[in-house]
Structure formats: structure tokens, C-alpha cells
């Protein structure tokens, strides 16, 4: 049975060559993302700015938004938004935080309930007061920072410091671009978004660590190969695994995106962007070449290298169809780039 090979064996694509383009592009995109955050802003949900979120299903189908709007503005509860949400008789009402502390929020939701009365059934009600919202925001940010620091320390233990730093730069860059994406698409930024960011951090580190692990192994095996060549070899070797895994994760996320419903829509969209698009790109085009700039493997002159033959090679090769005996790697006499 012929199995699906998405990535052909023994690819030798020169990824490192792109570092002179990928670094400036990434720097630019990061700046754009940061600018977007400050000027376009994030669509902070009530988890972080307080307020009331009510999802109602009106008995009248479709919902009479104009009438609801007048009813609610009559209640004098400050700024509010009404929008259709899914079905035509599903309405999402969002009321901004009331001045006057936690009790004022309760007063507001009671007014809304009284005003709308029997005309609606409540699918969901969420009221977050000022004390909780400020806490959630600070916990969220602290959490992100803590996670970054904790992972940095862990990587420092397992690899050398350049690897830890390289991974961190690459993955913080991931987070920055994802935040830019969230700003651009105006998705709801609430506690589940922080969950998405932390998961993206975890998974894209996953990716980076796999490549780093291979790089570390190659550094030990090929003591004189030049860094760009070595990095290319590592990335090419792990390419097949990376593509397959990203496809499976993408499939899971696609299922969630299509079937998971509105409630986790912003979460899955963010994850899709972060893990599949950005994560792959940074692991290959940022996290690996950055090691060169951090001085890993300095002093390698890029000489001709013959790999040690693998031990206990049997007479017959082991796959179907039987390939020819692997040829030794092409001798290169180009000096270190």
C-alpha cells in the first residue's frame, strides 16, 4: 500500500538563506502588531473591563432590534451595544461597566430584566464588576509573563542559554503577532483569549524544541559542519514531522472552528492563527537562524564532513520499496556563509 508522503524524503531546501529576509519582515510585522495594539486596540470583553453581557432569545422571530434599543436606552444604563448573534432571534446585549462599583452592575442588570420581561428567554447572563475585572486583567498579564519566564528557565536547564533565549524571542514574537491579529480582526478579548495565547505559547515552543533537539544532536555529531548547513540539515530532517503534526493540529482546530459553536469561536480562530500560521513560520525562519546570531557553533569553518556511519547496518535495507543504498552527502567546498 502506498502511503501518503506529504514531504518527500531527503529534502534539502535551503531555509537559512531566507534569514536576511525573514528577520526584517518579522521585525516589521511585530512593529505593525504593536502599533495596532496601541492605536486600534483590542476588543476587550467584560472579563477585563467589567460590564454586563446578556444573550437573549426573543419570542418574536426575527428580533426587533430597534425596539429593544429604545427600551434599553430608556433605562439609562450608559453605553450599550446590541447585535444579532447566530440565529435571527438571538440578540447579544452588552452594557458597559456602570459607575458605582459592584452594586451598580447588579442594579443595571435588574433594570434590564425588568424592562425586557416576558418578551425574551435568557440564554446567558454575565455580569462582571470592577473588582473582579481588574483582577482578571492583572492575573492574565502576570500569567503570561510568568509562563514565559518559567519556560525560559526550563529551556535553560535543558539546552544552553542561547537556545533558551532564541526560543523565547521567537515565541514572544509569535504572541505579539497573534495579538496584532486579534486587534485587526476585532475578536473578543476575554479570559479564553488568554487561554488561547498561553496554549499558542506552549505549542509553538513544542515545535521549536523539536527542532532544537535535532540541532543539538547534530551539533554533537557533526563537529565541523557550518552553522547554516547544520541548521538547514536539522530543519529538513524534522520537516516531515512538523508538517504532519501541524496538519493534525489544524484538523482538530478546524473541527472546533466548524462545529464548536459561537461560544469558543474567538478562541479557536486565535489558536488557528497562532499555532498553524505563525508557529510554523517562526520555528523555521526565526528560531533556527537566530542561533547563528546568538553565537551558537561559532568557529565552525564549514569544512567537508563525513557523517559517522550508523552502527549495525544490516545487509538488506529495511523499507518497501527498497531504495538504493543512501549516497554519501554531497561534498561541499563552499566556505562558511
Amino acid at each position: 500500500m502506498r502511503l501518503l508522503r506529504i514531504v518527500p524524503d531527503n529534502t534539502k531546501f535551503d531555509f537559512m538563506r531566507f534569514r536576511r529576509i525573514s528577520f526584517p519582515i518579522s521585525a516589521m510585522l511585530s512593529i505593525v502588531a504593536i502599533l495596532l495594539y496601541f492605536f486600534h486596540g483590542l476588543n476587550f470583553g467584560i472579563d477585563f473591563v467589567g460590564g454586563t453581557l446578556v444573550e437573549v432569545q426573543t419570542k418574536a422571530n426575527p428580533a426587533d432590534l430597534a425596539k429593544m434599543r429604545t427600551t434599553i436606552s430608556g433605562l439609562k444604563v450608559g453605553d450599550f451595544q446590541l447585535q444579532e448573534f447566530g440565529a435571527p432571534n438571538d440578540v447579544l446585549i452588552r452594557i458597559s461597566e456602570q459607575p458605582g462599583g459592584d452594586q451598580a452592575q447588579q442594579a443595571a442588570i435588574q433594570k434590564v430584566r425588568d424592562a425586557l420581561g416576558d418578551t425574551v428567554t435568557y440564554r446567558r447572563v454575565e455580569v462582571v464588576g470592577p473588582s473582579v475585572s481588574t483582577e482578571l486583567l492583572s492575573y492574565g498579564t502576570i500569567g503570561l509573563v510568568m509562563a514565559i519566564v518559567a519556560i525560559l528557565i526550563y529551556l535553560w536547564f535543558r539546552f544552553e542559554w542561547q537556545f533558551a533565549l532564541g526560543a523565547m524571542i521567537a515565541n514572544v514574537h509569535d504572541l505579539v503577532l497573534t495579538v496584532g491579529f486579534m486587534s485587526l480582526t476585532h475578536v473578543d478579548f476575554d479570559l479564553t483569549s488568554i487561554a488561547a495565547l498561553l496554549t499558542i505559547l506552549g505549542y509553538s515552543l513544542n515545535d521549536t524544541v523539536v527542532i532544537y533537539d535535532r540541532i543539538r544532536e547534530m551539533l554533537r555529531r557533526y563537529k565541523r559542519m557550518s552553522m547554516p548547513d547544520l541548521l538547514n540539515a536539522s530543519v529538513n530532517a524534522t520537516l516531515s514531522r512538523s508538517i504532519v503534526t501541524h496538519l493534525t493540529v489544524a484538523m482538530s482546530l478546524l473541527a472546533l472552528l466548524l462545529f464548536g459553536g459561537q461560544a469558543i469561536h474567538s478562541f479557536t480562530a486565535t489558536m488557528m492563527f497562532g499555532v498553524v500560521l505563525v508557529g510554523t513560520y517562526t520555528s523555521v525562519f526565526i528560531a533556527s537562524p537566530i542561533l547563528i546570531y546568538l553565537g551558537v557553533g561559532a568557529g565552525r569553518m564549514g569544512e567537508v564532513e563525513e557523517p559517522e556511519p550508523p552502527p549495525a547496518v544490516a545487509a538488506a535495507p529495511a523499507t518497501v520499496p527498497a531504495p538504493a543504498r543512501p549516497a554519501p552527502p554531497a561534498r561541499r567546498s563552499r566556505s562558511r556563509r
Binding site: M1, A195, N206, T248, V249, F267
Partner: protein, 531 residues
Amino acid sequence: MLFFTRWKAAAILLTALIVCLFMVPNFFPESTVGRWPAWAQRHIVLGLDLQGGSSLLLQVDTNSVRKERLQAVDEDVLRVLREARIPFTGRAVHNGAVEVHITRPNDVSTALSKLQALAQPMSGYLGSTGQRDLDVSEKDGLITLTPTDPAITERIRQAVDQSIEIIQRRVNELGLVEPSIQREGLDRILVQVPGLQDPTRLKDILGKTAKLDFRMVDLSMTPQQAEASHPPEDSELLDGQQQGEKYLVQKRILVSGADLVDAQAGFDSQTNQPVVNFRFNSSGAQRFAAATQANVGKPFAIVLDNKVISAPVIRTPILGGAGEISGNFTVQSANDLAILLRAGALPAPLTIVEERTVGPGLGQDSINAGEHAAYAGAALVIIFMLVTYGLFGLFANIAVAINVAMIFGVLSFLNATLTLPGIAGIVLTVGIAVDSNVLIYERIREEVRAGRSAINAIDAGFSRALATILDSNITTFIAAAVLFYIGTGPVRGFAVTLGVGILTTLFTAFTLTRLIVAYWVRWWRPRVVPI
């Protein structure tokens, strides 16, 4: 890597089986499971976003706890100095402390030692902690008594514990199903009631402190006069139930609601209006009798949470310790007041700082969405693995299936809460669990390309890949751990499933996949690896 002793293989399979068995109670209805022994009853709890219900986060007003403590200290200071007949001036509660100035310099040291005796030692788990609950200091004849921070913290903790008990009683009276009432942090309480659609009545009941006391009305001047000038030293102006109604009421409490032994809603025999009938315990009844005997013909005020709800005139002395509160009650409000009185007064006011209610419609939709996503995701991944890795893809699929079963098993064992983000976490874990197998297989392919024999390639594939699997999963686990720590509610559910998923993935990658492949190799003795 491919060598498993019989014992090891048996141990691995047994562990997996036992963990999976914990999943079983979830499939049987409550009634059946209830008859099983306690250790077999652990099951997954559906979060409120899946089963519908209300969640209220209540904050205990710590300032009022502080204030009450300071008032108690204030009264103690008064008592001590009067008993010792030490003249003083300027007794005041100021800046979180009680201050008092001793008039005669000679008295200062006596006063100081007597007041220092008010400080109680604080006790911890192992006996006295050596700290006191009150700091008493003196400067130029001014003695300052400050409650210490640990003392206040301890009082807040006690207030929260007491509040939880009272909330429990109030909620039980409402007849709600299986409410969960837990402390959250230092000064908050989380009340979760599955199935509750409209928490308005619950919020009303929990929002009232329900401090009831009986005092005499002060007839020395009318409320309007008191408002214009100053109310007398030992009386205060209180609002009535109607708009603008005011009463001048003595501060001294004759009988307090703490002495109530029962309260029931009922109907007045003459007017047929809803009323609340109450009964005192013996000491309360005695005091009530004495008060009513001494004040026949005068009105007394029934004060609830600093509002006068009724001010009837005492016609005859009430010796039986029972009476009736009438006012503007509806049947429901009389019932609610009776509930509040029976359950007891809260030690400090509660404010609702967060409320989340999910209707059953949305809950069911979320469950359906979660299920569909899970099946779709699983199907895609299974097919993809089969197509890419053939037989080994089948092994990976089996390992992942057992992985998911184990996740459910562990969640059941922990009585964990499953939320919609939690289901998303499981779907994601499937995506990443496959990665461990992919790492192994790609490595095997490489070793084969490098020229190793079948068995050596498989062996090398496993050994080289496992270190990488460990590293990469640990980083995701750190992220999940942080998320668990900072998250609340549904997000925490996600962190739990993600974390548990990583642990089970590590277990299955290191053991199950290897075991399956090892036995296949032993049985099939392949010369080529079909990968």
C-alpha cells in the same frame, strides 16, 4: 526499547485499564451509581456552561468586619476605664484604631496595663503563635489600641466561614438542587447552583444581611424635629419602608434577632394580610417580656438591616416570647423574611461581584457543539494517520483512543468539572498526542533511510524520539499549569483537561505505543518496516 518483560507489560496494561475503568460511572444514571461504594462513585461534573445554571461570586465586606471589631474594642475600653474609675477624654475611633487620652498623668501606667490586658493571644494550628490580636501603645498620655493584621485576617476568615453556613441554610430553604458554596480566596464566596435560570430571588436572599433587632421608639421629639436639629445622644434616625418615612429610634437593642428560635410566614387572623410569626428562645423571651411590661402603651420598633419595618404599640405585655411582624408584606416577601430570620443574620454584608448564568438551551447547544467537534476532529485525525502511516497509523490511533479514555478516567477520578473549553482542550490534546507518535515514526523512517535493519530502526526511532517528546510536552504543561493558576471557571476547566491530557500522552507514548509495536514485532518478525 522494544523489550518488555511480562511483568512490565502486564503492569502497563493494568494501569491503563484501571484508569479507563474510572470512566465507567459517567455512563450510568445517578440512581444506579448511588448504590455503588464511595470510591466507585467519582464522576465528571458538567460545568455550568454545559448543564446550565447560575454562578454568583460574593464578596464579604471586610470593612464592616473591621468596623465591628473597632466598635467592640471601643466599648471594652469604655468599660475597663469606667470600672477602674480612671478619668479620660477624647475617646474616639480613628484611622483604624481606638484612641483615648488619660487625663491624669499618674493614671497612665495603670490605664496602660489594664488596657493591655484586653489583648488576647492568637492561636494557630500548633497552639499559641505568640502574637497578640491588639497592639496597645502610649505616647504623651494618649493610648492607641490597634487590632493587628493577623487578628483582622482571622476575623475575616471566621466571618466568611459563618457566612458560608448561613448561605447554605438560606439556599437550602429555597429548595435549590445541589448548590455548591465554596470559599474563594480570603474574602469571597462562590455560590453555584446548577439548573437555576433566574437568580433574582437568590440574589435578593443573599444580598440581605437580615440583622433584626427590637428597640423602643424615642418619643422625646418627632422625627422631623430630630432631623432639623440633632437627634438625642442615644437615639438615631432611621428610614421606614415607605419613601420619606422616618422614625426616631433608641440605639439600645432590647432583643436581637439572634435570639429567634423560629420564624414562619402566616396570615393575620383579623386582617388576612401576610405576616411573619416569630418565637424567641427562653432568654430572649424573658428580655422581651421585661421590655414589654415596662413599656405598655408605647410603640416599639422592629428594625431590619437598619430600616424600620414595623412600629406597633405595645398593648399588653408579651410574656410568651412569641409575636407577629406585620407590615407591607406580600406572600413571597413574608416567606423570604421568614427564611432569612430562620437562617440567621450574616456577620457582614455581601456584595455580588460577578454573576454568570447559562440557560439550558445554550448549555445543551454547547454540549452538542462539543460532541460534534470532538467526533469530527477525531475522524479527520484517524483517517489522516491511517493514510500517512498505514499499519503504524493504526497503532497510533489505538494509542490515542486509549489516551482519550484515560483522560476521561483521570477527570472522573478527580471529580473534575468539564466545560466547553475543556472539551476543546481534549480535541486539541488529540491533535498533539498524535505528534508524539509522529515523532517516533518519522525517526524510524529516517533510521531506515540511513540503512538500519527493521528492528534496529524501530528501536532507534523510539529511543531517539522519546527525549524530544518529553521536552516538548513539558513546555506545554508549564503553560497549562500557569493557566490553571490564574484562570477561573471555564478557563480552568481547559487548563485541567490540557494538563491531564499531556500527562496521559506522555504515559501512552512511553509505554502503550511501544508495547503495541513491540508485540507486533515479536509476532510478525518483520524484515521491512511498513512505514
